[in-house]
Amino acid sequence: MKKFIHDFQIISNRRINKEYFVLSLASENQIPEIKPGQFVQVRVDNAPNTFLRRPISVYDVDYERNILYLLIQIVGEGTMILSKLKSGEILNLVYPLGNSFSLPDGEKALLIGGGVGVAPLLLLGRWLKEQNKEPVFLFGFRNSGLLVDIDLFNRFGKVYIATDDGSTGEKGVVTQHSFLRNVSGDIGMVYTCGPEVMMKAVALWAENNDIPCEASLETNMACGIGACLCCAQETVHGISHVCTDGPVFNSKELVW
């Protein structure tokens, strides 16, 4: 897929909760096709410690209005600066990068996200729905204050929620959710994105239930386009690179 470097204009910067915000970005150029799971490399200007671009998954795309959406969590200087951007300001992106999630075998697909890891699952849900699949979302958050755009996900499938403190949905982590105890054999694929411990637990659950599982990984990245080999991930086939061979990996390939 051809990659682009484009300036986007910020249409809105919507704060969803204390830690998360959504940037809506418009381009003068036609946004190319973006597959679920792909990401962009965002340039963060004016900060000594955000020298490199920041990889961010595509949350959603509106091809008609030519708008790209990013869901971002504030974790450090770079994301803090992004959180303060105002509409009208310019953001430079290199995109679309990485591989993408694949189609499930059966009808149903289970999309398990933790925290900001839900980001790539919105576009994935949209795509699955378009492919006449039936996505079901299972999300884990620390507490009800950190919930994310549940209504948007609801358009594509049912959303189950677990919170660490039980303030919304069930109390506990996603893999403890009762939904997982009642699933019948009709889930064609589990997709997961979130903290590594969560993804590992999800992958284990999927393996135990003989369901294929795809996980979207994060590593430190420099180039994002396969040139620097910094984003190494060990797999059963040797070293892979998260920015080109990933970020989506079949859980059985991963040595983690």
């Binding site: 470097i5 020298f51 671009r53 590593t219 420099a222 180039c223 040139a227 080999l229 910094c230 190494a232």
Partner: protein, 305 residues
């Protein structure tokens, strides 16, 4: 019309702007962003005698105005390069220069010998300065007799342009430059990365799996510029300047210090089009200063006495 072309030994570059090894893949990665044919040359990835997996993850961490990497020469080996990569990239309308590494002198010689036969590879760059592999690389770059030995041995089997890439992690980089000049190098390139380290204070652990890594980016530019200037005052062969070049001003600074050509590394990660911008910028600078030949800028730094 200004002349941008320069010579490195017998090698004629259409302009002084090239890409640093390990930062530009095999060029293909950047084809969507720039016309590779505009570049003076592409220095491709470090290539060794046989396949190397490189170091474990994490291999990269950002630092103030820089980054540390510990990729560790991951590559599929020279034979794979010749059979699978070379055919794909030989059509580029620019020079492809292979960065050569090894753990032993024999390995360097073997790789150089094999590359010598490739028509479209007019030069190699001996990497005697990689800080990220246990044996080899760095030891040749920080021990002068070894640097001489490996250069002499490779010179014997390689009859095209031989560039030796120097390590900044030494007391006197000029000493190494003079040594490899004496051993038959056609040019030197510098600097490779400075050996550095990062710690995660929260986890109380090193950030990189290998503990230490190589520092690159604008943080190192003042050190690189000083070393290039020192080496230019010490040797007669051309010098290729590397280290923290982010824009045309940085490039001009290295040329003024005496570099005949420059390499851009880390900056490609931030702006994949940076090389072409620098080429255009050098042309604009020359026009603006009424200089018709970029060679007149090489070493043109005015020092008060």
């Amino acid at each position: 019309m200004v002349n941008l072309s320069v010579n490195i030994g017998n090698l004629h570059l259409k302009n002084p702007v090239t890409t640093a090894s390990g930062c530009f893949g095999y060029g293909t990665e950047y084809e969507d962003f720039i016309d590779l044919g505009k570049l003076g040359a592409i220095f491709v990835k470090g290539t060794t005698g046989s396949k190397r997996e490189g170091n474990p993850s994490p291999r990269m961490v950002e630092t103030s105005s820089g980054m540390l990497n510990s990729v560790g020469l991951q590559n599929k080996g020279v034979d794979y390069f010749i059979s699978d990569i070379y055919p794909e990239i030989q059509h580029y309308n620019t020079h492809i220069i292979v960065n050569v590494s090894g753990s032993t002198i024999e390995e360097y010689v073997m790789v150089a010998e094999k590359l010598n036969d490739l028509e479209k590879i007019p030069a190699i760059e001996l990497n005697i300065s990689c800080p990220n592999v246990k044996e080899g690389g760095m030891v040749f770059g920080t021990h002068c007799p070894s640097a001489i030995e490996v250069t002499t041995a490779v010179r014997k089997v390689y009859n095209k342009t031989l560039i030796v890439k120097l390590s900044p992690n030494v007391t006197s980089i000029s000493e190494f430059a003079r040594a490899v000049e004496g051993a038959g190098a056609d040019a030197v390139s510098l600097i490779n990365t400075l050996l550095g380290m990062a710690i995660d204070a929260e986890k109380q652990k090193p950030v990189l799996a290998t503990v230490t890594g190589g520092l690159s980016g604008p943080a190192v530019k003042p050190v690189a510029l000083r070393m290039v200037w020192e080496v230019c005052n010490s040797v007669k062969i051309p010098v290729i300047g590397i280290g923290g070049i982010m824009n045309v001003t940085d490039a001009i600074e290295f040329i003024l210090a005496g570099a005949t050509a420059i390499q851009i590394g880390t900056a490609n990660f931030i702006d994949p089009c940076v090389t072409v911008k620098v080429i255009n910028g050098i042309e604009d600078y020359l026009v603006d200063k009424d200089i018709t030949d970029v060679n007149d800028l090489v070493g043109a730094l005015k020092i008060a006495h």
